[in-house]
Amino acid sequence: MKPYKLALIPAAFMVMATMASAGVVAPNDVVFESDGAVSQSLTGVPGDPANGRKVFAHRKKGNCLACHKNSDLSEQQFHGEIGPELDGVAERYDEAHLRGILVNSKKTFEGSIMPSFYRLENGARTMKKFQGKTILTAQEVEDVLAYLMTLK
């Protein structure tokens, strides 16, 4: 009887752990379509476009302005010109495609310079403090996505 009870304890912990991350798709579990799109939300929680705008501009988060021009953020100086301009990007791509590009751009554009914002296997020699970490959290990806969907 006693051993049976003890066996239940780790099982209970496992259930709790699953509940805590309920709905969050782990980086290695993201399912891509053949064209690189990701149709399932990473969190199941609708993205917050206002926070997405902040993450987009933040130099240590998305830092998207380093490479992309975006007129909606004209209050920020110096927009990069490495990637395409993002004005009207929601008219050119649907949500699933934009999510796929944010998660792992290389699945859509082979050999792209664009970092993969929700992927664990990045370049060689990743600094210790960034190892095993994604550039953005799942919710931050969803927030940036919600923001991009407002660029029409």
């Binding site: 970092p115 990045n122 060689a124």
Partner: protein, 287 residues
């Protein structure tokens, strides 16, 4: 009147389009440095690089810098890097180590070093390794002066590299990539094209595929090293090639190789070879 107006307008259009092109790839101005011994013409643009070059044209980093920064390099009197060169000149004449000798005791004037910078790094059979200018200076300090080697990438060594590099200023970079140097050159090439760090980028992603474009406020160069050591306005000191490599890798969130490591020696040789034909420009001024 009408005709004059029309040609003036066409002229304006041509100038505007030329201006745009110039902005995309950097200035079309040429660089003549007003030095202590007269003007020195610097090759900042090579239209037809040596066969096998991965770049269609070569550009010194100077052409991508702002007008103000470019002007600082055009006159040694304005170049803040020259302060460090002067310090190194004093060191050159000062005895150090157990032998009680200075650089000058054996080598005379620094001008005796003319031409050296242009061919380094190079394979040295006697040493059995790829030697950078830093390596030669430290070797001579230990071997001839009985002095301690300076810290690789440190101020004293980098200043001395600048003084010796200056003697070759204007000469085209001409490093050898074949023969015994080939293995290191291949290693450098591999490192150049390997994606690193959490941001997952190789040197080539920025400096081969996207030079001439802006990454935020920074005008991307080809990452040429003909101007090193470079005085950077950012940190107000001379920067060694390896220190710059290190900074770049950290930006990509990659663990840098060690300053003075074989990996950075190899990368230095490879990157130098991509600039064969550009002038030695040290000490350059960059942002």
């Amino acid at each position: 009147m009408k005709r004059i107006m029309t040609s003036a307008m066409i002229g304006g259009l041509v100038a505007a389009s030329l201006g745009f092109a110039a902005q995309a790839e950097g200035t079309k101005d040429s660089l003549v440095i007003n030095g202590e011994d007269g003007p020195v013409k610097i090759i900042t643009h090579v239209k037809n690089p040596p066969a096998g070059s991965p770049l269609p044209e070569l550009f010194s980093g100077w052409v991508f810098r702002s007008k103000e920064t470019r002007a600082l390099e055009a006159d040694d009197f304005d170049n803040p890097g020259m302060i460090f060169v002067e310090q190194a000149w004093e060191t050159w004449n000062t005895p150090d180590g157990k032998a009680g000798k200075s650089c000058a005791d054996c080598h005379g004037e620094p001008s005796s070093m003319k031409g050296l910078r242009a061919v380094l790094p190079r394979w040295d059979d006697k040493q059995g390794k790829l030697m950078t200018l830093e390596d030669y200076i430290n070797w001579s300090r230990v071997e001839h002066m009985g002095a301690k080697p300076w810290k690789y990438g440190g101020g004293q060594l980098t200043s001395m590299v600048a003084l010796i590099s200056l003697q070759s200023r204007g000469m085209p970079v001409n490093v050898k990539t074949d023969g015994p140097a080939k293995k290191m050159w291949e290693l450098g090439k591999k490192i150049y094209y390997t994606r690193v760090g959490q941001l997952d980028m190789a040197c080539s992603n920025c400096h081969e595929d996207n030079y001439g474009k802006y990454i935020r406020a920074d005008h991307l160069s080809q990452g040429q090293i003909n101007g090193f050591p470079a005085y950077r306005l950012k940190n107000a000191k001379l920067n060694s090639v390896h220190a710059r490599f290190k900074g770049c890798m950290k930006n990509i969130r990659a663990k840098p190789y060690k300053v003075g490591s074989d990996e950075f020696r190899a990368l230095e040789l490879y990157v130098a070879s991509r600039g064969n034909g550009l002038s030695v420009e040290a000490p350059s001024v960059r942002n």
